[in-house]
């Protein structure tokens, strides 16, 4: 060990040529023992294994706890079998599971269909080149860059019944003043509009990339044969684009089913539970009322919905991919 006096401070530096050499040789020997041809694949998989355990442990713990009466306010958790699920299916939770299921499915179905139609339309427009098309493509992506919670707050201001811009513009068109997010009849469509605004650009950009990657020859041949635009869209663009459409569908289905922050920021699940999705309902039970067992039961069902939906979409995607290869 060498001690250097420097500006009044004592710096302690480690400099052992022999020790360093010893450590080095030990490491080399250890490396030779551990890193062999047989162990390399396992070592490469190890980080992924850790990540998987990190994800799966909380998941399985949640599944297990969904079979417990787990409410820290009430006392220690105890096993109650499938009672939480029975309560859900009997609709005795408040708000009821069936109401939340209906809201979740309407929300997901409306979002996916509107976003796919609009996204495809935008992608078909943007796939052509025109003056300033690069700027337009960048601008179209803007709403997707806004975090959902900020998007919800922004729209909340626009929806404000008295001072909001939407009713203001509507007044020129003779529209009555609508409560939008505060009106049980309008709340769900209003939240869907927020989601559509936020995520349609994502759909459009992915589909645009898909359109740009399609082979050009079949389209050129169809044009030479004098095929109409509709014929080309229906018989060429759609079938060839199907794998990309399934990918977009998969992403949007998962996001729409599990959407929480946008809905909660906009309406808190109200009014009159009009926007009480499964995820928001689970939040109320868990994070506000400490009924974690019930909350986990909600979330396990939501996971099952997402998993089964993804399973069918991925299967359809594989088939579409195979068909395109043929």
């Amino acid at each position: 060990m060498h001690k250097n006096k420097n500006n009044g401070h004592t710096e302690v530096s480690i400099f052992f040529p022999e020790a360093v050499a010893k450590i080095g040789s030990c490491l080399v020997r250890a490396k030779r023992r551990i890193v062999t041809r047989k162990t390399i694949p396992y070592l490469l998989y190890f980080p992924a294994f850790i990540a998987t355990v990190g994800i799966l442990y909380p998941f399985f713990r949640s599944v297990v706890l969904s079979f417990y009466e787990y409410n820290p306010t009430y006392g220690p958790a105890y096993f109650i079998g499938v009672q939480n699920y029975i309560d859900l299916f009997q609709g005795v939770t408040s708000p009821s599971f069936w109401l939340s299921l209906r809201v979740t499915l309407i929300y997901a179905f409306a979002n996916i269909s509107i976003q796919l139609i609009l996204g495809l339309g935008i992608a078909l427009l943007l796939v052509r080149t025109f003056a300033g098309y690069r700027i337009v493509r960048a601008v179209v992506l803007f709403p997707f860059m806004i975090p959902p919670i900020i998007e919800a707050m922004m729209w909340k201001l626009m929806y404000e019944p008295v001072t909001g811009i939407i009713n203001y513009i509507g007044s020129f068109l003779g529209m009555p003043r609508i409560g939008w997010l505060g009106d049980a009849a309008w709340a769900l469509p209003s939240v869907i509009v927020i989601d559509v605004h936020n995520f349609t650009p994502f759909v459009a950009i992915i589909l645009l990339a898909g359109l740009q990657s399609l082979p050009k020859r079949p389209f050129e041949a169809a044009q030479v044969d004098g095929a109409s635009s509709w014929f080309i869209l229906k018989n060429l663009t759609f079938p060839l684009l199907k794998p990309v459409l399934y990918v977009v569908l998969l992403f949007r289905m998962i996001e729409s089913l599990i959407m929480f922050d946008m809905i909660y920021a906009a309406t808190h699940g109200g009014p009159a539970n009009a926007t009480m999705s499964i995820h928001v309902n689970a939040y109320y039970h868990g994070m506000r009322w400490t009924m974690f067992g019930t909350s986990f039961a909600f979330l396990v069902i939501l996971w099952a919905m997402v998993f089964s939906g993804s399973f069918f979409i991925i299967r359809a995607w594989r088939k579409a991919l195979e068909a395109r290869m043929v």
Partner: protein
């Protein structure tokens, strides 16, 4: 005749009397002295770091500038996390339920303390208060707190009662009651009365709504899907009608004939004279709308007056009147009460240091600064509420000098209290109850049906407590 000796004796006696009375005065008023004069070893936990969870609230704004004084006094470092109300309670719940123990001290309130007490998340403050090594009782002067507000933060754990007894869960730092804040200038202009009961209240707000034109509304109330929507103006009216949300056997009783009658008036007023989109309104939205001059009446916190009367924050400064809430059919006035308090986490690893902070932050010395210099209203210490500077600050709030103070005094002595039935699931009860108000407001259900449906939901939540108490098998 008195001789020289007699005169000298009298003079000596007078001097002695003066010295004794001065000494007595100093002892009597020890709590007015700065913390350095307290018989507390403030430096005992020097080097400790405390973390405080705070809600974004006017009280928080009044506490923050004072914290460096505590750090200088004790050598304890104070870190704090400030979050909006919803996020604050969420973060706090995660911290407490996971056992992480990030927060040593947090802002709380009786309705939350009831849950935290059952879960074992809040520390009983009495052992710290009674420990002479940690507390100078004479300097701290606990008796100076309004008994009503102090009592609200004490609970013995009896579901359905037991308030004001048992554990001391939190030290109140501000208190609010629910009053009628109305536009006195418009009341005079339109020839309206100050309503004394709810039918009158309905008439007044609908007339104001008609008079005000398209962009002016008779009333605003809180509306988001939350227990807080029920807690404020609505529960005040509900209880003034002699109603409670739970029976003694812990069954919901929000659908009694009287409860239905009152709720019909409330919902009809919101439909006929309220802001459109009422279910999206938070207390803050309501306060801002009223301060922007778009509303005739807001039945909510009295201390919002500090905003209404501040010309920098309000377009209607000096134009409001403040009245007690309308009475029920038999003349009963029963305002609900909300008090923010500071509590100590049972998971804290620095409990003694945390107590020093609580003692300092809620002492007269800190709280007078919080109110006089940083607008913390309403103060929870009697001496501060009666302080000439504070009286001077509020004297012009209202339709006539002293109106605001008059209301607060009546609330503190006669009409205000925690009206909820103490139980750990009170916020769940309130959330579910709020659904009924939304459904009736949206005309999806009749008031009767909506309240009956929420009754079922509340009964399910309360079932476990009925079983625990042997009321139900």
């Amino acid at each position: 005749m008195l001789g020289k000796r007699g005169l000298v004796l009298i003079c000596l006696g007078l001097v002695l009397l003066m010295v004794l009375s001065l000494n007595g005065f100093a002892q009597e008023k020890k709590w007015l002295l700065p913390p350095e004069k307290a018989d507390v070893n403030w430096a005992a936990y020097k080097g400790t770091t405390l973390t405080i969870g705070l809600n974004k609230h006017p009280y928080t704004e009044s506490l923050r500038p004072l914290i460096p004084q505590f750090e200088e006094l004790t050598g304890i470092e104070v870190a704090y996390v400030i979050l909006p109300e919803e996020e604050f309670f969420e973060k706090l719940l995660i911290d407490l339920s996971s056992g992480a123990g990030l927060f040593d001290i947090y802002m709380t309130s009786p309705m939350f303390e009831w849950r935290y007490q059952y879960a074992g998340w809040v520390e009983d403050l009495l052992p710290y208060y009674n420990n002479p090594k940690l507390t100078d009782k004479e300097w701290y002067n606990r008796e100076d707190f309004f008994p009503l507000v102090l009592r609200a933060n004490e609970w013995d754990g009896t579901i359905g009662g037991g308030m004001g007894e048992g554990r001391w869960n939190g030290i109140p730092v501000m208190v609010e009651f629910f009053v009628q804040a109305y536009r006195e200038d418009l009341r005079k202009k339109w020839g309206l009365i100050v309503p004394k009961d709810y039918p009158e209240w309905y008439d007044v707000v609908t007339k104001a709504d008609e008079q005000g034109g398209a962009d002016f509304f008779g009333i605003v109330e809180r509306g988001i899907r939350s227990w807080s929507t029920v807690h404020s103006g609505y529960y005040t009216g509900f209880n003034s009608w002699g109603q409670k949300e739970l029976t003694k056997d812990l069954y919901a009783s929000i659908d009694t004939p009287k409860a239905i009658e009152f709720t019909k008036i409330w919902v009809k007023a919101l439909q006929d004279a309220g802001v459109p989109g009422w279910p999206t309104y938070t207390w803050y939205d309501g306060m801002e709308s009223y301060a922007a001059g778009r509303i005739y009446m807001y039945n909510d916190c009295d201390f919002f007056a500090a905003t209404y009367e501040n010309p920098a924050k309000s377009t209607i400064a000096g134009k409001s009147g403040y009245a007690l809430p309308p009475a029920g059919p038999d003349g009963r006035i029963a305002s609900n009460l909300w008090t923010w308090a500071l509590g100590m986490s049972a998971l804290s690893r620095h409990k003694e240091a945390a107590w020093l902070f609580l003692q300092w932050a809620t002492s007269y010395h800190s709280m007078i600064d919080a109110t006089v210099k940083h607008d913390n209203f309403n103060p929870t210490r009697k001496s501060i509420w009666e302080h000439p500077d504070v009286a001077n600050m509020v004297k012009n709030w209202g339709a006539y000098p002293g109106q605001y103070a008059e209301n607060v005094n009546l609330m503190l002595t006669k009409y205000g209290d925690i009206r909820w039935t103490p139980n750990p699931d009170v916020t769940a009860v309130g959330d579910i109850w709020c659904d009924a108000l939304h459904e009736a407001y949206a005309r999806q259900k009749t008031v009767e049906q909506a309240l009956k449906d929420s009754t079922r939901g509340i009964n399910r939540v309360m079932r476990k407590w009925r079983i625990a108490l042997g009321i139900e098998k």
